[in-house]
């Protein structure tokens, strides 16, 4: 369960007072709002990134643990951005291996070997019928493929929640719809609570919660 309480986002000339948010596992919250409303700022604050231009206050609780005092690498929230930021120096399969947690153990309760980690990553790709890109580099992938691989990579890290910053905005409308449908069903099956920032009201799945930041804007 992912909860955000008493959250305020301070932006230029104003402030956004969000109502308390509570997401069950597998639930999705879509945040919309005009630009300059601090959507991305809010997301980066959740992630644990230092926010320079605006301040955000509030309490983040994930599965009864308060995240506020933790830094990014301790929070372990997944992140999916518009440009997926697959690492260009690594092949697709190694991008996924990079995200696999280090604590994974094999049946003999030993850390996974490199080979075993690769195998695991390949299985994840095969699950979505994308085993054929395993040895490609990012520039060899299409936009849709990048987004899919990006999600696989994010989920490979076993995040307790996922943050998405306009993840499908760069795709053409058809692909965008396909990929987002696929992504939301993935998240539901894996039971990961997720928050997505978007300016596109068309692709919001019916079962998702929706919040428009402009509704909570208060000028100072």
């Amino acid at each position: 369960m992912f909860r955000i309480n008493n959250c305020q986002i301070f932006i230029e000339n104003g402030c956004i007072e969000l109502p308390d948010i509570c997401l069950q596992n597998g639930e999705l919250l879509v945040l919309t709002g005009p630009s300059g409303m601090g959507k991305s700022t809010f997301l980066h604050w959740l992630l644990g990134d230092t926010v320079e231009h605006a301040k955000v206050s509030g309490e983040i609780i994930l599965n009864d643990i308060q995240l506020n005092p933790l830094n990014i690498e301790q929070r372990r929230l997944g992140l999916l951005m518009q440009d997926v930021h697959l690492f260009p120096h690594l092949r697709v399969i190694d991008n996924i291996c990079f995200a696999l947690p280090s604590h994974l153990k094999n049946e003999k309760d030993k850390s996974l070997t490199q080979h075993q980690r690769r195998e695991l990553a390949l299985n994840m790709l095969n699950e979505i019928d994308m085993g054929y890109v395993a040895n490609h580099f990012v520039e060899q992938l299409s936009g849709g493929e990048r987004s899919r691989v990006g999600l696989v990579r994010a989920l490979a890290n076993e995040p307790k929640a996922l943050l998405m910053d306009e993840p499908f905005a760069a795709l053409d409308p058809n692909t965008s719809e396909q990929v987002s449908q696929w992504a939301f069903s993935q998240l539901r099956t894996k039971g990961v609570p997720s928050i997505m920032v978007s300016h596109d009201l068309n692709n919001i799945p019916p079962q998702a919660q929706h919040m428009d930041l402009a509704d909570f804007y208060r000028s100072l």
Partner: protein, 551 residues
């Protein structure tokens, strides 16, 4: 505890970085510290030196116009190639072209194009005649210097432009210009040039500071009635009477004054060219420079050919070709490797020294650059470039003079360790020049993603930032390597001649004007950086960094 260690590491880091980046300023201060009392007699003696005024004027002329000429040519080449299929070829060949040392270019031009040079004398030699003097490039003149420096600096400016261009939406500017009815070339000049010009101030200053105090090529191809200022000053600096030392001191001050005049010149030129272009833009008159730009469509081919011709000239000389044989036994030239066989044994020691010193100082220089950039990133504030680039902005003669004084004062030994240290500020400055752009423009969200996967700061740095920067690091290494190989003054003054490198040998041997043996050393000197660049480009083609991706 953790914060204490962190603070300690940070302090140590800043200390190292300050030490390396501050050495040039330290050298200047020590070099210019009045160790003797300067009397009015010395001042008047200085100004009474016949030819001082014309020497200073021609030096100013040369160091102002040679880099500017190179900048304009560089821009015209850039504008011809940027959005053209040939751009890839240019980018690939730029670094190796950049690697030919200044001295090699200057001597190569003279060996090739002077009236007694390879080209004319073999053309005329066919008819058994001597080429007329007026036809060839003068052996010693400001024109030859101007030509050598401006030809040599064009690839440097291309490198700078190509780095700057990556961060500017040039394509959009050009589109807008053309949409408004200007030709593509006119749009380049009216819209792109003013921006690039402003952003290449430091590069321009670096090239000017170099021309101002370059010694080896001034001696060999510069005019000597009057001599260029660097030569006059060097003669005073190596003079040993009290009077000469005092005059050398004043001379160093004047050198700094000249440098500030050049800085003023940069701003003046910028103001002039920007207002001229603006006037053209407002009045919509046609630019005269536009048709000239087209001349540089084939620059890459021309320059590659010239580089090749210079290398071939050296090779031919080193294999025993000389003018006498052409005339004496017209057809039979005795090609022989005997000179190479003779010299090879003796080249090895300086070659190994060169390799060792260049490798060490390049690696340490690049690592220090990385440290400096990372510390500034931590601070969230980047210091102005000129602070980091002092080694290439301040005149080398005065700077190294100060180092030598300190080196003798602390009774430092004469081994390669000190020489590496004296090369470090230069390898640092050049790798800073090359790395800053890629480092700063590296998308930090890659590290953010890594952090979200649970990787800590060090892991983010090594696994992501360092790995993504590898291609840029490799070219920085190659440039730093070739900068170190070409260093003459620091190697000589700090190594006391006991530490011999290919370059110190080459310069000493070049004073004898025996072309065949000079050619051997020039070739070896030119081949070193060439190999470094070749290796860098081969390796980086197998690596993928942030700049292989089209964002």
């Amino acid at each position: 505890m953790a914060t204490k260690i962190r603070r300690l590491i940070l302090t140590a880091g800043w200390f190292i970085v300050t030490l390396v980046a501050g050495l040039p300023l330290f050298g200047i201060i020590v070099g210019l510290w009045p160790s003797v009392t300067i009397s009015w007699d010395d001042v008047s003696h200085f100004f009474a030196y016949n030819g001082l005024a014309s020497s200073i004027l021609s030096t100013l002329f040369l160091s102002l116009f040679a880099p500017l000429l190179a900048l304009y040519i560089g821009f015209m080449v850039y504008s011809q190639y940027r959005f053209n299929p040939r751009w890839q070829a240019l980018e690939k060949r730029l670094a190796p072209l950049l690697s030919l040392p200044h001295l090699a270019v200057a001597l190569g031009l003279v060996y090739l194009f002077s009236s007694g040079g390879l080209l004319w004398s073999s053309l005329w030699g066919i008819f058994g005649a001597t080429a007329p003097e007026w036809l060839g490039l003068p052996h010693k003149s400001i024109a030859t210097m101007l030509l050598a420096i401006s030809i040599k600096e064009v690839p440097f400016f291309l490198l700078i432009f190509s780095a700057l261009g990556r961060q500017l939406p040039i394509k959009n500017w050009l589109l807008q210009g053309r949409a408004l009815g200007y030709s593509e070339m006119a749009s380049w000049w009216l819209l792109v040039f003013p921006v690039l010009l402003k952003q290449s101030r430091l590069a321009l200053l670096a090239a000017m500071a170099y021309s101002l105090s370059v010694l080896d090529i001034s001696l060999l191809v510069g005019p000597n009635i009057p001599e260029l200022y660097a030569v006059v000053l060097y003669n005073w600096q190596t003079g040993f009477t009290v009077e000469e030392q005092n005059v050398a001191f004043i001379g160093n001050l004047v050198l700094i004054a000249l440098l500030s005049m050049l800085i003023a010149g940069i701003y003046l030129h910028e103001w002039w060219s920007v207002t001229t272009l603006r006037r053209h833009a407002v009045k919509r008159t046609s630019l005269k420079i536009v048709p000239i730009s087209r001349l540089f469509t084939h620059w890459l081919g021309f320059f590659s050919l010239l580089t090749l011709a210079i290398l071939v000239t050296f090779l031919v000389w080193s294999l025993g070709w000389n003018n006498q044989e052409i005339v004496q036994s017209s057809s039979a030239i005795n090609w022989s490797f005997s000179l190479w066989q003779d010299e090879w044994f003796f080249i090895q020691a300086p070659l190994i020294n060169s390799l060792y010193i260049a490798l060490c100082s390049a690696i340490i220089g690049v690592l220090t650059t990385l440290l400096a950039l990372e510390l500034q990133r931590q601070n969230k504030h980047y210091l102005p470039d000129y602070i980091w680039l002092m080694a290439i902005l301040l005149p080398q003669l005065s700077m190294v003079y100060g180092w030598q004084i300190s080196h003798t004062a602390i009774h430092g030994g004469y081994h390669s360790g000190w020489v590496i240290m004296s090369h470090l500020p230069f390898t640092f400055a050049y790798s800073y020049l090359v790395l800053r752009g890629p480092f700063q423009s590296l998308d930090r969200r890659y590290e953010l993603v890594a952090a979200s996967f649970g990787y800590n700061y060090w892991q983010q740095f090594w696994k992501i930032r360092f790995m993504l920067l590898r291609p840029a690091l490799l070219s920085a290494l190659a440039i730093a390597f070739s900068v170190s190989v070409a260093q003459y003054i620091p190697t000589l003054m700090i190594g006391a001649g006991r530490v011999t490198t290919i370059t110190t040998e080459a310069v000493a041997i070049a004073t004898g004007n025996e072309q065949s043996i000079t050619a051997i050393y020039m070739l070896v000197q030119a081949v070193l950086p060439f190999v470094a660049f070749l290796l860098a480009s081969v390796v980086s083609q197998r690596l993928r960094g942030s700049f292989d991706v089209s964002h």
